[in-house]
């Protein structure tokens, strides 16, 4: 069982605590989380830092992890059907292009994400809305 140590930043509040994870690479699962000596947390963690990682093995207590792209093919209230990435990507691209041509770029709204996605994804999202769609309609939950 190959254990490796990985230090990362806690995904929860803005304090940006550093956590040292022990990971079992073979079993592809987390074994333990202990505080790391980060600038802000200096070797301490709160309850979310200590115990907020076991959602990764998808216990389905509250809701479940999304595993495959899905489309409601039969319209608004119809059930979600699993599709391949190619189909999903092209479907979204086509729909957005159609709406952009029909109503203009400002009729499309996009969001960034203040949570787990990270800065690079947010950068691309606003670049996509501005450069590809052509609107400044991008916002995120800093405002709410």
């Amino acid at each position: 069982m190959a254990l490796k140590q990985v230090q990362t930043t806690c995904p929860y509040c803005g304090a940006g605590c550093q956590i040292m994870f022990t990971v079992d690479a073979d079993a592809n699962k987390i074994v333990e989380a202990v505080p790391a000596d980060g600038r802000t947390n200096a070797g301490t963690l709160c309850l979310k830092g200590h115990y907020g990682w076991d959602y990764l093995n998808d216990p389905q207590i509250l809701t479940k992890r999304l595993r495959k792209p899905m489309i409601r093919k039969g319209g608004k209230k119809s059930p979600l059907e699993e599709v391949s990435w190619e189909e999903a990507i092209s479907y979204v691209a086509a729909k957005l292009t159609e709406i952009k041509e029909k109503f203009g770029p400002d009729s499309i709204m996009g969001t960034g994400s203040a949570r787990g996605a990270g800065n690079e994804a947010n950068y691309l999202m606003q670049k996509f809305m501005r450069a590809c769609i052509g609107t400044n309609n991008v916002d995120h939950c800093a405002r709410i």
């Binding site: 987390i30 333990e32 301490t44 963690l45 709160c46 309850l47 200590h50 115990y51 093995n57």
Partner: protein, 179 residues
């Protein structure tokens, strides 16, 4: 003399990390992989919040434990520097719960067990100072503000000694203010 863990209301911020730490230490790491309702989530210390303070309260491992004295089946005994409950012997008669003036004992179901009427066994639950658990009391270890401290016999004795010396010094200064 028994050891005990105590919370400092000035440092505690009421976040209850200690309560989860306590369960993880006693139930083991596998609880991060199993169904959360398949084991009993029974912290052995309890967060108290009033307008004046927030601090967890737990067993003080008294020297003449009232709980041990009232237990009709001798389920409570001293082990090392702690007062522990043998939950196999315990039948949940709550005498200890009533006897403890700190409310440090509560009653918890034993997951997976069953009584004659099908309901789960319910037994007394209190801090056992993580006896038998390496790295000592988990609550002290995980508290983000170091509000919990393990008080050992040696530390308590030395603290008393220090206070007595200090008292002697102040008495001395009353007589010789300049020195």
């Amino acid at each position: 003399m028994n050891y005990f863990v105590k919370g400092n209301p000035d440092l505690c911020i009421g976040c209850r990390t200690c309560m989860i730490g306590c369960v993880v230490a006693h139930e083991g790491k596998h609880i991060f992989e199993i169904d959360p309702d398949s084991y009993t989530f029974n912290p052995k210390l309890h967060m108290v919040k009033t307008a004046k303070l927030s601090v967890p309260v737990q067993c003080k491992h008294c020297e003449n434990p009232a709980c041990m004295a009232v237990c009709p089946v001798g389920a409570i005994s001293r082990k090392g520097n702690a007062v522990v409950i043998d939950t196999d012997k315990c039948m949940g008669c709550k005498s200890c719960m009533d006897a403890c003036p700190f409310g440090a004992i509560n009653m918890v179901p034993v997951a997976g067990s069953s009584q004659a009427d099908g309901s789960e066994k319910v037994v007394a639950n209190k801090c056992d100072l993580c006896s038998g658990i390496p790295s000592g009391p988990a609550c002290v270890r995980v508290c983000p503000t170091a509000a919990l401290t393990l008080v050992t016999e040696e530390e308590l004795d030395s603290a008393m000694e220090k206070k007595r010396q200090e008292a002697a010094r102040t008495a001395y200064r009353e007589m010789y203010p300049q020195k």
